[in-house]
């Protein structure tokens, strides 16, 4: 007794010859409770040959200041303490600085040039700087959401309105994952010590209206890595295996009597669950890592740190996980930014550089997109001795996965306020990322409430000059 749809989508499309069904059919199949049994590799697949097979998103949560990371503004330094010209700020959204006098606040740390490409990066990040020739630095990002919660939602889902799938879910929905033992979309979090740790909602890695199996799975580097992955104490894996086998036998018998694709799926999921009971501990068991690796990352792991998460990220990438997100909560520097940046930069610099280095030497970087950045930037105006949230211009960098290294793209104006050269909206970032993964962002749709939704909503363009 097979499924109701014996023809795979790709076969179907090649015969019918139309592409406009893609989203609809995908939606139909996905919604149906009689859809084809779950397999880790989705039967959808890319639209064109991908350059990248996976993404590691290093989310600097809280909004890292572009002015103390990637965007050097000497003019801002010159004007430090002077009133911020109204021509920049008039009519613009503003967060906590509402009603305040706005003054220029110069960069609090120096910049230097790194790598053969001579990329300009703040000296707080020497290890990232050492990887400068791999990086494409984008200085002209902008977004529309000025508070943390909706800004993360925008960065993840392409909309400030909550309820839509995150980019990780879109990726696994379209492409599945190459791992048979682990979830396709994994999330890791860490908390910094250099500022208010803004909360992160589980909604950020939600599958929204996409099928629930594409939800991100939160993996913890301390304690039980995934909820419920450990057998109840006392049922060592032998006992658990027996139990799972017994469940499988009886379910299979049920399926024999009353065939139902849901039972088949459940059988597969129990198998996968059992495999996760070993694969997840195996994933977080670092005993096969070398001393050199621990020194490179600056951690021995299992300590809840960003560095530990970076090491796990590399391991996840090796095991075929499609989308890996790290949230480091610690960049919301409303006050005391000079000192806070020192602390927070130190928390991420070494391990980020290590991750790039490590992926590269294992041959993984060439098909892994690494994205580093936050949900927005910070104001060139001071907030006391800190900076407020800023959306008109901020910076991110990308590496690997078909991205041209040693380059920079776009620029903000002389005060670092607005993206003035080649502005890049979050939708453009998403469109390009999907393109590298082999997907046409306009065709990657899902019908929900009568509308064909996509990650890029109704805009987004692929930025060709980022592509190697």
């Amino acid at each position: 007794m097979g499924t109701a749809f014996p023809i795979s989508r790709r076969d179907f499309l090649s015969r019918a010859g139309t592409c406009t069904l893609t989203g609809t059919l995908a939606s139909l199949l996905a919604q149906s409770s009689l859809a084809a049994p779950e397999v880790r590799d989705a039967s959808f697949g890319p639209h064109h040959i991908p350059k990248a097979r996976r993404v590691i998103h290093l989310c600097m949560a809280g909004g890292p200041s572009h002015l103390e990371t990637l965007d050097y503004k000497p003019e801002l330094a010159r004007r430090h303490g002077e009133p911020m010209p109204e021509s920049f700020t008039k009519g613009q959204q503003i967060a906590q600085l509402q009603g305040q006098a706005l003054k220029c606040f110069g960069p609090q740390h120096p910049f230097a040039r790194y790598g053969e490409s001579g990329q300009s990066i703040c000296t707080l990040f020497p290890k990232i700087g050492a990887q400068a020739d791999k990086l494409c630095i984008v200085r002209s990002m902008h977004t529309s959401e000025i508070n943390h919660d909706p800004a993360h939602t925008m960065m993840n889902t392409g909309s400030g309105l909550s309820g839509r799938p995150s980019m990780g879910s879109w990726s696994t929905f379209e492409l599945g994952a190459k791992t048979k033992d682990l979830p396709g979309y994994v999330v890791l979090t860490s908390v910094g010590k250099g500022g208010q740790s803004q909360p992160i909602a589980a909604r950020q890695w939600s599958s929204g209206f996409l099928p629930g199996r594409h939800q991100g799975v939160h993996l913890k580097s301390q304690g039980e890595p995934v909820h419920y992955v450990s057998s109840p104490d006392g049922a060592d894996l032998v006992g658990q295996r027996r139990l799972v086998d017994a469940v499988a036998r009886l379910n299979a018998a049920e399926n024999g009597r009353n065939p139902d694709p849901e039972i088949e799926t459940r059988l597969a999921q129990y198998e996968l669950a059992y495999r996760m009971q070993t694969s997840v501990p195996e994933l977080v068991d670092l005993s096969n890592e070398t001393e050199e690796t621990f020194e490179l990352y600056g951690t021995r792991g299992a300590d809840g740190s960003y560095a530990a998460n970076c090491l796990l990220a590399r391991r996840l990438a090796e095991r075929g996980v499609r989308f890996i997100q790290l949230y480091h909560r610690g960049w919301d520097h409303h006050g005391g930014i000079k000192r806070s940046m020192e602390i927070t930069a130190k928390e991420v610099d070494q391990a980020t550089g290590a991750l790039l280095e490590d992926l590269d030497r294992r041959g993984l970087l060439e098909d892994t997109i690494v994205l580093w950045g936050g949900e927005f930037g910070r104001t060139p105006m001071g907030q006391g001795d800190g900076r407020d949230h800023h959306i008109k211009g901020f910076s991110v960098w990308m590496a690997g996965g078909g991205i041209r290294g040693g380059t920079s793209y776009g620029a903000t104006d002389e005060l670092g306020y607005a993206a003035s050269v080649d502005p890049v909206h979050v939708h453009d970032l998403h469109a390009t990322m999907l393109h590298l993964l082999g997907l046409d962002h306009k065709r990657s749709t899902f019908r929900f409430q009568g509308r064909d939704y996509r990650l890029t909503d109704v805009s987004g363009k692929v930025i060709q000059s980022w592509l190697a």
């Binding site: 007794m1 109701a4 014996p6 023809i7 019918a16 010859g17 139309t18 069904l21 609809t24 919604q31 009689l34 779950e38 959204q93 967060a95 906590q96 600085l97 009603g99 305040q100 000025i146 508070n147 979830p183 208010q196 740790s197 909360p199 992160i200 909602a201 589980a202 939600s206 099928p211 199996r213 039980e224 909820h227 419920y228 109840p232 104490d233 006392g234 049922a235 060592d236 006992g239 027996r242 139990l243 017994a246 469940v247 009886l250 049920e254 849901e262 799926t265 459940r266 999921q269 996968l272 669950a273 996760m276 909560r329 409303h334 006050g335 005391g336 907030q383 006391g384 409430q449 009568g450």
Partner: protein
């Protein structure tokens, strides 16, 4: 080549939307062309491109094509409309333009529309090449046939009032138990299909039990079913209300937290109690609607009405500092429109927030006119502080209301006593006044103490007030107590709205004594003053961490007064009122003592002043001013003010005042025991404008008044004043709203069949699914309305039908013919909702605590799940005793971090309305059923009986006992053998491994009984776990 999977379309067939639209089918066939060698005979009539013989109807076949391909430019969106052509209206379709009809009935050749969609020139062809959709041959044919067959127009199925259609005749009436069956059977007859046989008693009893109460049926209930008594028993059960509430709470997005950012906790559970009660008492749906939308607006709202009206406060709100108040007020308004639209219209009016709806006739103006109904709800855009989400109210039972009334009466009589005229008092007042005047002139400053050993100023007290005594090493500055405050992050205690208020005079200074712990000092201190309903008067010392008033700013709302004072000693903090924007004559009615982390003790606070005896006013004017007003200048108000004030300090009235204080304290203490929930309070409505592109910063749009969507019947109200939420509610359940009954009936159908008759319960518009049985839906809708909106009657009617009672087993003739069961030739199977998965395990194991209603509870949850929350940081404090075993309806609902076991089984976060949950099938679910301590414990409880009886009874009997408890049937031979094998292997393992045994038995709080062999219990627990993990156990069959 394998045969094509097809969905056959009989004559007069249904679904055009839904899962396999006809045009796609035809496209498949056309695309495959000659490649199909083997065909199922029944496919033949449909394989050809439709000819003129096949009837094509507009609403079913043509409108969806136009909606997908044309409406975006030729539809309801005024701004995007091209060529002034509107195809979503009859007038537009049959208009004559430049002498040519758009559609000429009977002649596609003369129809401009047809000409354009078949135009040879790609530049003239519609839709334009760059549009993302295009019409294929099948769709073109459909349109052509429709035109040639006479172009008979039909209104959209959901936008005309439901009229009870005639019950169709059927071939074999013996199967028909009620009219539902006639509609279903007539369809099946037309398809040449037979319905499925009736399911057996056990299946039906279990189906009814989970569908109506969310709980598994036991043997008694199966017997009751066989006697024909089960349906009534289930409808009469309190658990029915719980089950219906679970669904309703999804729709109205009920949760126990605010939703955005810090996702702080709030109390709304009395609303949940209201809903449970409403369903159990079978409250008619119209009454239910009025009470929730506008219960607070009734002439004399009861407590229940006010609780019901809490519906209006269920939307997410934010405490995130730096948020724009106006932006969030708009978000709240928009969410209310979306919610009303989903619940009472089953529609997507929310799509019209920024532009006219692209497919349905909802204009942006309609969106904002709907939002205007809710503009009278008292709220702010951005809440602040830690805790309350005002306005809030205490919820009282009738007995409690009587008690409160008694308190009020006692207090009132004491107050009258205080006010009485008395010449001795008058004399005392005169001498006090002269003394005060002398005091002012003597140049000596004193302290008007506002707070020392008790908060006796009245008003609202918030935060933790921990009075600690002197002795050991607790620092105390004055009197017997200081107040200890410690925490991580922002922590504070405060009072406001005090009866005893401070009226400021020239030269006054606020002061408070504070002691910072030298080992663990706070990083920042903040004093806040409450004046005229706001806290925007703050002074800070130390590191700038507390965000109130804005970190980094230096202004009245956040005045930097310097570094932290010295630690380890009592320090007097002083604040000049001018520094925080206050001056003489201002009346301060509250003070907040706030710190960032650390440990501090707070003590005496007050006002340093020249005239301490005049500082505290109980009225609204300044006592100081009144005393110093000369006899001629003194106003009547001032005279009264002084009279009242003197009675608060006169020694003769000490006893009366003490009695009054006690009475008020008793009342307050009693009030504290009452639950509190958010309240819907109607105030002067905010101005509502249409927002171009939904941009909250754009004020150029027109101001609108409350109104319902213009294209629907308006309902004709003669009311002259501005329409309010009650008007909206009345309209919503009136004849004027064609959608409401269909939307409700459709959802109830979904609860009982797995899918609604229209498969998109939240979109009954042009892009949504058309109902599979539109006549049946209309019949049921009319029945629902005419029964007086009787919900139990609706449920009873459906579950009594033959259609409902069919077997849900797969049928080979249906797999290819009707894979999604749209024809209802059988019932459906699906995995239980998240709540019922857990409830089922608790029920069969005997652990379920069946108490109905009450506050939310916290059963087991993995440690650290709330680690990413902040403001405040918090952990899940697991409940005690019964709280661990209540129905999952009551599990604390945290929107941003939903309980992971619930989440694994597709419970929605309730961040927004959910009319249709996902039904996923994931490894996380397997992990929950295998490893969640709640399930392991339930298995252990279930295993106690067989473990107790073995080895006295045969193992087989123990297995049968478990099967009968969990599945209400005997285990089959194979099941028996698998279970016994597992039991035996695990017995050996546990007998050899006492540690493993103890570890398993330690899972869950339930104590292990003494009269069992532990290893036996552990082994039997594995057998119970086996049963709790079976597909059958978690499936509604």
């Amino acid at each position: 080549m394998e045969p094509m999977p097809t969905h056959l379309r009989p004559r007069g067939g249904p679904i055009r939307r839904g899962l396999f639209p006809r045009s796609i089918l035809i496209r498949i066939i056309v695309g495959l062309g000659s490649h199909l060698p083997i065909l199922h005979p029944l496919m033949l009539p449909l394989l050809a491109i439709p000819t003129g013989d096949v009837p094509v109807t507009f609403d079913r076949d043509v409108r969806p094509i136009l909606s997908d391909n044309c409406f975006e430019c030729h539809g309801p969106d005024t701004n995007k409309r091209k060529a002034r052509l509107r195809l979503d209206r009859e007038e537009g379709l049959f208009a004559v333009r430049d002498g040519r009809p758009v559609v000429a009935p009977g002649s596609s050749a003369n129809s401009e529309l047809y000409a354009r969609i078949t135009h040879a020139d790609p530049d003239s062809r519609m839709p334009p090449a760059e549009f993302r959709h295009s019409l294929d041959e099948a769709e073109l044919e459909t349109i052509r046939i429709w035109i040639d067959q006479g172009a008979i127009y039909e209104g959209h199925w959901a936008w005309n009032k439901p009229v009870r259609p005639a019950v169709p005749a059927v071939a074999d009436g013996s199967w028909v138990r009620n009219p539902i069956d006639a509609f279903v059977l007539a369809r099946l007859d037309a398809e040449g299909l037979l319905p499925s046989p009736t399911a057996d008693a056990r299946t039906l009893a279990r189906r009814l039990s989970v569908d109506l109460t969310g709980l598994p049926a036991n043997a008694d209930q199966i017997a009751a079913f066989e006697r024909g008594e089960l349906v009534e028993a289930l409808l009469a059960s309190a658990h029915y209300g719980e089950r219906m509430t679970q669904h309703w709470l999804d729709l109205v997005r009920y949760a126990d937290t605010v939703g955005y950012h810090g996702d702080q906790e709030w109390n709304m559970w009395p609303y949940r109690d209201y809903v449970i009660r409403a369903f159990n008492e079978n409250m008619p749906f119209d009454k239910f609607s009025l009470e929730q939308l506008g219960g607070d607006l009734f002439e004399e709202p009861t407590m229940s009405d006010k609780v019901a009206a809490g519906y209006n406060r269920l939307n997410m709100v934010t405490f995130e500092g730096g948020s724009q108040a106006k932006e969030y007020l708009l978000k709240y308004a928009a969410d209310r429109v979306r919610n009303f639209s989903t619940v009472w219209l089953g529609s997507t009016v929310g799509c019209a927030e920024c532009h006219d709806h692209k497919f349905d006739p909802y204009a942006t103006k309609d969106f904002y006119r709907l939002s205007a109904y809710f503009a009278d709800i008292e709220e702010v855009g951005v809440f602040s502080g830690v805790g309350a989400v005002p306005p809030q109210m205490s919820v009282t039972s009738p007995e409690e209301e009587i008690e409160l009334a008694e308190f009020a009466a006692a207090i009132q009589s004491l107050k009258i006593d205080l006010e009485r005229d008395d010449p001795a008092l008058a004399q005392g007042q005169a001498s006090w006044e002269s003394k005060a005047i002398l005091e002012a002139g003597d140049g000596v400053r004193g302290s008007a103490v506002w707070l020392d050993d008790a908060q006796s100023n009245g008003g609202t007290t918030e935060g933790a007030w921990s009075f600690v005594g002197a002795g050991d090493s607790t620092p105390v500055y004055s009197g017997k107590h200081s107040r200890k405050q410690t925490g991580s992050g922002i922590v504070q205690h405060h009072f406001h709205g005090a009866e005893k208020r401070a009226a400021l005079a020239e030269g006054d200074l606020f002061y408070t004594w504070v002691h910072l712990d030298p080992e663990n000092p706070p990083e920042q201190l903040m004093l806040q003053f409450h004046v005229d309903g706001t806290w925007e008067h703050r002074a800070v010392w130390g590191a700038d961490k507390i965000s109130f008033g804005g970190v980094g700013t230096d202004r009245e709302a956040h005045r930097q007064l310097g570094d932290l004072p010295a630690t380890g000693e009592w320090v007097r903090l002083e604040v000049d009122p001018a520094a925080v924007g206050l001056g003489p004559g201002r009346i301060v009615d509250g003070m907040a003592y706030t710190q960032f982390s650390g440990l501090a003790h707070w003590d005496e606070a007050g006002v340093e002043t020249d005239t301490p005896s005049l500082t505290f006013a109980t009225g609204s004017g300044s006592v100081y001013d009144a005393v110093f007003a000369t006899a001629e200048a003194r106003t009547k108000e001032q005279t009264q003010l002084l009279r009242t004030y003197y009675r608060t300090i006169s020694p003769t009235l000490n006893e009366t005042r003490a009695a009054l204080g006690e009475a008020e304290a008793e009342k307050d203490a009693f009030q504290q025991t009452l639950p509190v929930m958010l309240e819907t309070v109607s105030v002067e409505p905010r101005e509502v404008r249409v927002l171009p592109r939904g941009n909250w910063m754009d004020e150029s749009g027109e101001v609108v008044l409350p109104g319902v969507p213009a294209f629907l019947p308006q309902g004709g109200s003669d009311k002259e004043e501005r329409a309010d939420r009650l008007d909206l509610a009345r309209w919503a359940v009136s004849d004027a709203n064609p959608l409401v009954a269909r939307a409700f009936v459709n959802r109830v159908w979904k609860l009982l069949f797995g899918e609604g008759l229209a498969r998109t319960p939240d979109d009954l518009g042009n892009q949504g699914a058309r109902p599979t049985h539109p006549d049946l839906l209309d019949w049921l809708s009319a029945e629902f309305i005419e029964s007086g909106w009787d919900v139990k009657h609706l449920v009873r009617t459906i579950v009594s039908s033959g259609t409902y009672r069919q077997s849900s087993l797969t049928r080979s003739d249906l797999v290819e013919r009707d894979p999604f069961n749209e024809l209802l030739a059988r019932q459906s199977r699906w995995r239980h909702d998240a709540e019922f998965v857990r409830d089922g395990a608790l029920a069969v194991s005997g652990l379920l605590a069946t108490t109905v209603g009450g506050p939310s509870v916290k059963p087991y949850q993995p440690a650290g799940h709330w680690r990413e929350l902040n403001f405040p940081m918090r952990t899940w404090k697991q409940g005690e005793a019964d709280q661990l075993y209540r129905r999952s309806l009551y599990t604390f609902w945290c929107r941003t971090f939903l309980h992971p076991a619930m989440d694994a089984f597709d419970a929605p976060s309730r961040e927004s309305s959910c009319a249709k949950r996902n039904r996923s099938n994931t490894p996380q679910q397997a992990l929950v059923l295998l490893n969640d301590p709640g399930f392991v414990e339930a298995a252990r409880a279930l295993a106690e009986a067989p473990a107790r009886l073995s080895p006295k009874q045969a193992d087989g009997e123990g297995v049968q006992w478990i099967w009968s408890r969990a599945l209400a049937r005997k285990a089959r031979a194979e099941e028996l053998s698998v279970a016994l094998a597992l039991l035996q292997e695990e017995r050996i393992r546990f007998h050899a491994d006492p540690e493993a045994t103890q570890a398993l038995l330690a899972v869950g709080r339930r104590p292990v009984p003494d009269d069992l062999t532990d290893a036996e219990l552990a082994a039997w627990t594995q057998v119970s776990r086996l049963v709790l993990n079976l597909h059958e156990t978690v499936t509604r069959n």
